[in-house]
Symmetry: C2
Subunit: 364 residues, 2 copies
């Protein structure tokens, strides 16, 4: 079975193999040395000199962490959203008492940086901006660089969900001035789910000092205190650290420019491939993501049927649509441990599967 | 290296091996079937007909979850604490705005159920009681059955940290009327850290309905909604599910009565063993834990020195003391995947290690 969903993503054999290692003391020397190695490499891959913490949670936990560590109930927050995950970020902030202005963009299109500028001008009381770098639900990569430069101009806090982009698509955390950036281990990192990584800028630390949202498990102060001892405050998912300790050197060996280029190539290949089948992209092509491609189900064909046939008869697991897009789109994940030929396989098998779902592939 | 700390605990070979399996879709059929198998078995081992959820987090995350799902800011809470973890539970509740009455008991002694009765009589406004079943920091098992019957008599909510007891020491969740019981995968369950399990009673669901503490990642309503689809709301730590899918049948095969008997035997063996070396127990013997034994460092000997020698020269990893007990005690973990002979090994090696740390073992 080939897993071509936007997470969990497949892991290299040697990464999986690393997880069969016996447990060790998470307060001991061996774990501490691993923590040092991993943290240094994560910082390189985040392109930051700031702090990077490892949380035992899924990506959503790290989104919550970014909010509760930097904001207080009643704080005004601007949410820029063009999909399920953008909406989720806003909901988390509201749940913890932030007053959220939700600026929504059409699904399948990108966030317009100018709209962020306008919203920040309209309400100078806004303290922070929530943005999704890569919107997994629609297969759109937002122009985070442009959004960041506007947020910097207004001197607001920038919290970024980079769960399905970091380590795949360029995100120079320090250069762009992103304050908290979060991601999950099961995406571009080639390791199983269970860990999340967060970067924290100096500006975020300043905000943290006065942030009153309640927190304990996610608390950055505790994370920093323990990182100074090369530990985590709470017992970490040790086996996923083992996996990471193998995967991160693989990433650094390939090198960020090559990783970005590979994802760009895979994204193009996926888009060209589905178009060659006469299918249309859900996302506007110029902002289409290089980690996940959302494809419109052909008229009259249920997207679920396509993913079922692909899984049951062709051994390829794709994702369906989320929320209101259920049945209307299907999604091909191409992030992390993926090669060109594996995307070729997806297109080839789709060519066989689509007719069974009732779609006639047009002759060129 | 033998890991004899109270978590992470060693895992059987086949459990570790299971984790080298490739990732699968956490929204797919295979994961769903695994979720059904695992949840049913967890309910058996929790001895409950209520809900049991699996969270991707360490045990501390599940302690936070138990609080934020059942309480509102301003709620009065009674904390019964006799150690580091009891104090932690109270701190989490305070952090989220509960008004906590802390009734503290001498470390090394058990919580006195009568004191709970007195405190609940003194303030009928108390809504919930926080209690640690097995206090890992001091090696004491509290009489949870007696505490529970008092809490039931007063008709309060009972939240239980059973992180280092469940699956090792008898805890009949339904019979005792415990409302939320939490535990972590790296303790008695013979799997690596990264997952936490929580049981939720009908009374806890009633409390949940009006509970106003902010929550998103930990939200039981979302957990329940997704469990109905045999999923978790957020991407779970799939590889630790694989491990659990192997470990739980091993536990059920051994059977709860045998598991409890084994831990009781191991506990006795550890206590008798350290006493045979002329050492004294930190915990009062009649309430000493069957999962972890806290041993006083001999007068004039640094406990850290003992754990260092044991690790570096004898290949056995023990735990030191936490908080104010650092250097004053050392702890032997004997929970989960442990046999009698492995505890014999610890005692035998201690006999060689202690003189090197400056302690002269008395002749009988």
């Amino acid at each position: 079975m080939s897993l071509r969903i936007p997470g969990p993503t497949p892991c290299p054999e040697k990464v999986l193999h690393a997880m069969s290692k016996q447990m060790i003391n998470h307060r001991g020397k061996e774990f501490g040395e691993m923590m040092v190695r991993i943290t240094a490499k994560l910082k390189d891959l985040f392109q930051t000199k700031g702090d990077v913490f490892i949380l035992t949670s899924s990506g959503t936990g790290s989104m919550e962490a970014s909010i509760v560590n930097t904001l207080s109930p009643g704080d005004k927050v601007l949410s820029l959203s063009n999909g399920v995950f953008g909406d989720r970020y806003a909901t988390i902030a509201e749940q913890f008492g932030a007053v959220v202005t939700r600026v929504k963009f059409e699904w399948g299109k990108a966030i317009e940086p100018a709209a962020a500028d306008k919203a920040l001008k309209a309400d100078p009381g806004i303290k922070a901006v929530l943005v999704t770098h890569n919107e997994t639900s629609t297969g759109v990569t937002n122009d985070l660089g442009a959004v960041a430069s506007i947020v910097r101009k207004h001197d607001k806090l920038l919290l970024v969900d980079a769960i399905s982009s970091l380590g795949c698509i360029d995100l120079p955390v320090d250069k762009w001035g992103c304050d908290v950036v979060v991601t999950g281990s099961q995406k571009g990192w080639m390791v199983p789910p269970g860990l999340a990584f967060v970067s924290v800028s100096e500006r975020a630390w300043q905000a943290h000092k006065t942030a009153k949202m309640p927190r304990f498990y996610w608390d950055f102060t505790r994370a920093k205190e323990f990182l100074q001892k090369n530990q985590t405050p709470w017992t970490p998912a040790v086996s996923i650290f083992y996996a990471l300790d193998i995967a991160l050197p693989l990433m650094l060996e390939e090198g960020l420019p090559n990783i970005f280029a590979r994802h760009a190539r895979l994204g193009r290949k996926a888009r060209e491939g589905v178009k060659s089948l006469g299918l249309t992209l859900y996302a506007e092509e110029k902002v289409a993501s290089d980690t996940v491609t959302a494809v419109n189900a052909p008229p009259g064909v249920d997207g679920k049927k396509i993913t079922e046939i692909m899984r049951d008869e062709h051994g390829i697991v794709l994702s369906g649509g989320q929320s209101t897009l259920a049945g209307k789109i299907f999604r091909i994940g191409h992030l992390g441990f993926v090669t060109d030929s594996e995307i070729d396989d997806v297109i080839r098998e789709l060519r066989h599967a689509l007719p069974k779902a009732g779609y006639k592939i047009p002759h060129k």
